[in-house]
Amino acid sequence: MMKEMTTAATELKTKELTISMGPQHPATHGVLRLVLDLDGETVIKCTPHVGYLHRGTEKLAENRTYISALPLMDRLDYISSMSNDVGYCVAVERLFGIEAPERAKYIRTIMSEMTRISSHIIGVATHALDIGAMTLFLYSFRDRELLLDLFEMTCGARLTVSYPRIGGVRNDVSQEFLDKLYDFTEGFPKIIEEQYETLIDQNRIWLQRTKGIGVISAEEAINWGLTGPTLRGSGVPYDVRKYAPYDAYDKVEFDVPVGKNGDVYDRYKCRMEELRQSNKIIRQCIEKLPAGPVMAPDAPKFTLPPKDKVLSDMESLIHQFVLITKGPIAAPEGEIYVATEVPKGELGFYIISDGSGRPYRLRLRAPSFVHVSVLPRLCEGAILPDVIANIGTIDIVLGECDR
């Protein structure tokens, strides 16, 4: 009997197995499909397939006016739409050579940082959910809800906000909004410490599944074009907010947290620390918020006039009509690349203008697209459960990846 069993074991044949993970899979954060070649549990080859959400944003934008292309940007990274809009507006403002008023810049900075908080807590929470820590997910959605309510209070929308405008923001924020947000920032650092970090920082399963997994060195990470917390986890302090400040980022104080080992755990730590820094930025912005208009008053050929003027003043009505139907007729000819730091990394807008009211070419450099491309590098040679950890750690949104 014993002898039979040993012969059976030696004759046991193994072969490589190819499995398709996704596009419908709870741990792929959207419609990402990975074709994995497995030898036992080891991943030999990983081939990502993207494009399931391709909507042709770049082509659509070429056929729209600058103002009407704005809502398309909401739908890139749909959980941080405010940052995308801010990025687009900053890029177009620089192309036109106009400047948003100070108050609008501060408001946009506040909004971007609120988005960063809500995106990072979703990112970390779903990441934790994928590898076995469920409670964080429930807590983080509770806190994100507060932020979404604040968005709703300001602009009426919770997700696809379209709140920033070329040359400022759509409307001023209320005092109630500022008070509520300030209250939120008072208690948030405590929530991070007591409710997020204690839940998973000492969790042995979490530590074993994140420490030393998906390691990428600083040089390699730069070579792959990684940005955002995914790059900073490897110890590179590259942050567009510091390297090429826009809006009010040069007027507030904050640190750029970096990791050391470049593994899943360090990237998670970076995101947690960024939550605190964003909290700090929001508080500074509210304290320093200057009074004044929220739309550039001296650029009527590029920015929408205030609504009450449109209804009473002939010239404003004409400007509004032309801007919406034809786009700005005085757009300069030229090209510009503007990068902004969105929660996922560096979102770049490369706009070529031919002087008409529509962009001749609008290119979106999406961080998630680059981050998915590094998955084979992180996964090959690792075991199958680490693939899930690696997908979580690069924090992707497929709407942005596929555009």
Binding site: V236, G334, F369
Partner: protein, 177 residues
Amino acid sequence: MEPKEIAEIIRDRYPAEVKEIKEFRGQVSVIVKKDRIKEIMKYLHDAPELYFDYIEDLCGVDYLGRKEPRFEVVYHLYSIRHRHIIRIKAEVPEDDCAIDSVTDIWAGANWHERECYDLFGIAFNGHPDLRRILLPEDWEGHPLRKDYPLKADLGEMEWKGYKEVLETAKRNKQYEA
């Protein structure tokens, strides 16, 4: 280093390759011929005073009817060590629609090049895995070209994946109450 100085360095080193240097709102573009693009890129990556270690972006542009040659491949390079940026534009004609790949200099260029191939039909010589990326493998045409319509009734030319979906929907209609 100022982008203008970088452009001058490139022109001094490759006088025959650089066609034009343009500036708009402080950003400088260097327009080059495509033949020795890889050599130029390698130099930009390796030279210690330039050290462009990070490729921010790579994309195609179609200038149909506005300019000859028709296409341009645009590289945005950034140096994290020196904090400077430069834009390189390589001209690609329609009849020889290919350019050397820079994937072995920057690994991050891999998917950008695939996307450029997918949406513009510009081939990248020496690319390890040049396939369509955002569109299905059997898609016809390159949508970001200017002669590709935004909206059209394609009739028989319609993508066959879409036709299958329509047929399935028609078949499933009978099960509706």
